[in-house]
């Protein structure tokens, strides 16, 4: 269980490196698919079937959107040239990564050990009384649709706003011809 989790995580990290360093944008996007689908498998291993179902749909849609965008424009990544600006960027990136790493090391000391029941104290009420209070046998559905229903309303608002934004940005009607 832990071994398979670590193997999948290493696969995800390798996929991330390939996705960022490949010269071809299309192969970068395919490598992004490795990360997303490995994440789906990890969700199944972590006993989260709802997340796995949503992740596999969303990942497929994202890949379709990205591939359509790249095929409509260009596949070549021509921005990779080493110059002084690049070296400054490298140093900035290194500083960002080190600062975040220090904060993460500090924060990791306060986390409970992986797989311990200590982290469950947040959801104790949901687990104990979820079925009696909401009547939903799936506790994840009980949380998103009942205990935290306003979160889901906000999610629908964000989705609607993004769709409006996409239509406003990509519309061809009423655009000035240049």
């Amino acid at each position: 269980m832990l071994t398979s989790l670590i193997l999948l995580l290493v696969l995800m990290i390798l996929g991330a490196i390939v996705a960022l360093e490949s010269k071809d944008l299309l192969s970068g996007i395919i490598s992004l698919g490795i990360i997303g689908f490995a994440l789906t498998v990890i969700f199944i291993v972590l006993q989260a079937p709802d997340l796995a179902i949503v992740q596999i749909i969303v990942e497929t849609l994202t890949l379709v959107i990205l591939i359509a965008a790249v095929l409509k424009t260009t596949r070549k990544d021509t921005s990779e040239k080493t110059d002084t600006v690049k070296i400054i960027l490298w140093i900035t990136g290194l500083v960002c990564v080190i600062v975040f790493m220090l904060a993460a090391v500090k924060a990791l000391q306060y986390l409970p050990e992986f797989g311990s029941a200590e982290s469950l104290r947040m959801a104790k009420v949901y687990i104990d009384q979820g079925l009696a209070l909401t009547g939903a046998s799936n506790l994840v559905a009980a949380v998103i649709l009942d205990f935290r229903g306003y979160d889901t309303l906000g999610e629908a608002t964000v989705l609607f706003t993004s769709v409006v934004g996409i239509i406003a940005v990509l519309r061809t009607v009423g655009r000035k011809q240049s």
Binding site: L9, M12, I65, I166
Partner: protein, 114 residues
């Protein structure tokens, strides 16, 4: 603890990509890597050793102690769907910029043209 470290490493790769890469599509990819890392971290925190998926079934009965944490899963479920919306919006911005400037390179996208 090593799984937490690996998830943070994945997040750091995305952070590096956002700061260093100059191609718009690569920046979108880096953002998505960071998003995956955060979702993964939440799911990892909610896991407990030997836990079952948080769904009441007949054979499980009243043995509720064995569930994994449903709260991070619900939060991640919302985050995944919102991630799709934001990614689609980012990609549409990138495509529109390409139509205007014929490049994804952020250094060449400097001119203000109405």
């Amino acid at each position: 603890m090593i799984v937490y470290v690996l998830a943070i490493l994945l997040f750091l790769i995305g952070l590096y990509g956002i700061v260093v890469k100059r191609n718009l599509i690569k920046i979108v990819i880096s953002l998505m890597i960071m998003e995956y890392a955060i979702n993964l971290f939440f799911a990892l925190i909610g896991y407990r050793e030997g836990g079952a998926a948080p769904i009441h079934t007949e054979e499980l009965g009243d043995n509720m102690v064995l569930f994994v944490d449903p709260l991070p899963q619900a939060l991640v479920l919302t985050a995944i769907v919102i991630g799709l919306g934001t990614t689609a919006l980012l990609v549409s911005f990138a495509v529109r910029i390409y139509e205007k400037y014929d490049t994804f390179d952020v250094r060449k996208i400097r001119k203000l043209r109405g």
